[in-house]
């Protein structure tokens, strides 16, 4: 067990009757890491989250946070330093934004003086006295996020945190995450949209059918699966054959003529050779674009 890790999950299983929602997960999340958990709805992300928070006991295996098992009575102390934003957070309609934060601050033993600045931080300072009943979905999500930040947690669990946020709010949200990360906060967030988080996380785990299918940095995952990439080569129709001839001796897996361009598929190691061969065509190539493989293609559409 490395001391750099704050979350240790060992052979964690959770069954609901005959359904196995989480099926033998091993996971370590390092201190100060921004960690992404990605997968379809129903892949087991939320169940894993709930087990990491001690809301559900594993059917088998064990999860430790800061060295304390989630089912231990001592886990209460660990919870004071954990922030949690549930998926589709539900707050109390009859309380105002500020009252909501004060209520949860009291439960967490956090300083009530934190509440007003936190509202400001998530952009709700003007709505702080209004009842949550009158909040939009996005505002509720922001309030839920502010709630997760009460008590200056050093570990944050954010389950689908950008649900219901507009693009501007999503940018602000990740800006706050960046600040927290700079302060050394460990952040675990889940999403079913890989494109949104892949540029922002240090590492990610891809979950499907209750298992972790892949784990690592985005770059490492790309290399690990070694997907072919596509070139779109725009040339005059008259030059199609010249391109075919120039690439013929290279290890390209496909050359297809489309309406106004040629699509070329090759492995990553042939990428530079293809570019050089095209450059040697002496002005025949009008335009060139490279489409990098998407991890979504690998994990969500089908295995290569």
């Amino acid at each position: 067990m490395s001391s750099a890790a704050i979350v240790h999950a060992r052979q964690v299983v959770r069954r609901f009757g005959a359904v196995c929602a989480v099926d033998g997960v091993d996971l370590e999340v390092r201190r100060g890491e921004l960690f992404g958990l990605i997968g379809h709805n129903g892949a087991g992300k939320s169940t894993l989250f709930k087990m990491m928070l001690g809301l559900l006991a594993p059917s088998a295996g064990e999860i430790r946070i800061d060295g304390v098992a989630t089912i231990d009575t001592g886990f209460r102390e660990v919870r004071r330093r954990i922030g949690y934003l549930p998926e589709n957070v539900v707050l109390y309609d009859n309380l105002s934004g500020l009252e909501t934060l004060r209520f949860f601050a009291a439960l967490k033993g956090a300083d009530k003086a934190e509440c007003a600045p936190l509202l400001e931080r998530v952009g709700l300072d003007a709505a702080g006295k209004r009842r949550v009943r009158d909040y939009s979905k996005g505002m509720r999500q922001r309030l839920g996020f502010a709630q997760a930040l009460l008590g200056r947690p050093h570990l944050l669990f954010l389950d689908e945190p950008t649900n219901g946020l507009d693009p501007e709010a999503i940018r602000e949200f990740y800006a706050i995450l960046g600040e927290l990360k700079a302060q050394g906060v460990t952040i675990i967030l889940s999403s079913h949209i890989l494109a949104e988080i892949q540029q922002r996380v240090d590492r990610l785990a891809v979950m499907a059918n209750g298992r972790i299918q892949a784990l690592g940095s985005v770059q490492a995952l790309r290399e690990q699966v070694d997907l072919p990439l596509w070139f779109e080569v725009r040339v005059a129709p008259a030059d199609f054959e010249a391109v075919r001839a120039a690439l013929g001796h290279l290890a390209v897996s496909a050359i297809e003529a489309r309406d106004d361009h040629i699509a070329v598929q090759c492995r990553r190691e042939s990428k530079m050779a293809v570019i050089e061969a095209l450059a040697a065509l002496d002005g025949k190539v009008l335009d060139l674009s490279v489409r990098e493989p998407s991890l979504e293609d690998v994990f969500f559409v089908g295995r290569p």
Binding site: T73, R79, P86, V90, L91, A106, L107, G109, G144
Partner: protein, 273 residues
């Protein structure tokens, strides 16, 4: 497992404030005051007179009213406490706090019990204050006893309501169970007892009858109040079936305490699963 009183107090405080803010406490208190005054002045109308007659008859009429009203109010107040949070989805966030399930349950119970107690004491207290010129010390004592036992009755049914709330899978079922429980204890139970007594010609029921009555908190409440009133106990004919040894106030009080503790205990046990 340690119990943190602070966490219980935070949950209880929220529940209580919620009931103050939505004017639940005020509404119920006013209902109690209004009913108490109406009964005090018109309760003897059946005997052909209108106006305040005696505190004993007033309390006897109030007891009959409270037996219907307080269980209903308590069950309605409490059935939603846990299952509502679960169904709306707010339970998960609450339980992710440094808060145990037992603390949450006790906090909910105490907060709602406080709202109910304030309503009962203020509501009947206000009526008592209006009547105070007509009451002597002895009558005041009986009236205070009536208020206290009403509070206990409410707490017993609130405890049952929380048990329902923990056991039910959803709010619809919880409300159905609450209504069923009210029917059973308030309407059906006594009929069954009476039926059994009549069917056996009173041959067997005699001795176990009072014990069976302890299985219904509304009966315990009735006996608690009626027995302390000489004029009324003979009126009801209860003295003939209820042995004096069992009728001691503290014994009946203990039975009520069990009625408060036992359902809550079941709720705590089931909620932990």
């Amino acid at each position: 497992m340690t119990l943190e009183l602070r966490q219980i107090a935070i949950i209880a405080g929220k529940e209580f404030r919620d009931r103050l803010r939505n004017r639940w406490v005020l509404a119920v208190a006013l209902i109690f005051t209004a009913f108490a005054l109406v009964i005090a002045y018109f309760g003897a109308a059946q005997q052909g007179s209108v106006g305040f007659s005696s505190i004993e008859l007033t309390i006897a009429s109030l007891v009959s009213l409270v037996i219907y009203l307080i269980p209903l109010i308590s069950l309605v107040l409490g059935f939603d406490a846990i299952v509502g949070e679960r169904e709306r989805g707010s339970l998960e966030l609450l339980l992710s706090m440094p808060l145990t399930r037992l603390e949450l349950l006790l906090g909910k119970y105490l907060g709602l019990a406080a709202a109910l107690t304030v309503s009962t004491v203020v509501g009947f207290g206000l009526a008592g204050a209006i009547l105070t010129a007509r009451l002597d010390a002895n009558a005041l004592f009986h009236y205070a006893g009536f208020m206290l036992s009403s509070v206990l009755l409410g707490m017993a049914f609130l405890s049952l309501a929380l048990m329902i709330s923990v056991l039910s899978a959803d709010r619809t079922r919880a409300s159905g169970l609450a209504i069923a429980l009210w029917f059973f204890f308030v309407l059906v139970f006594d009929l069954l007892l009476l039926g059994a007594l009549v069917a056996t010609g009173g041959q067997y029921g005699g001795e176990i009858f009072p014990w069976l009555m302890l299985l219904n908190p509304t009966d315990v409440f009735r006996v608690l109040n009626v027995f302390s009133l000489d004029e009324v106990s003979t009126l009801y004919g209860l003295a003939t079936v209820f042995p004096a040894g069992l009728a001691a106030l503290w014994k009946l009080g203990m039975v009520m305490v069990i009625w408060i503790a036992a359902p809550l205990g079941v709720a705590a046990w089931r909620f932990k699963q």
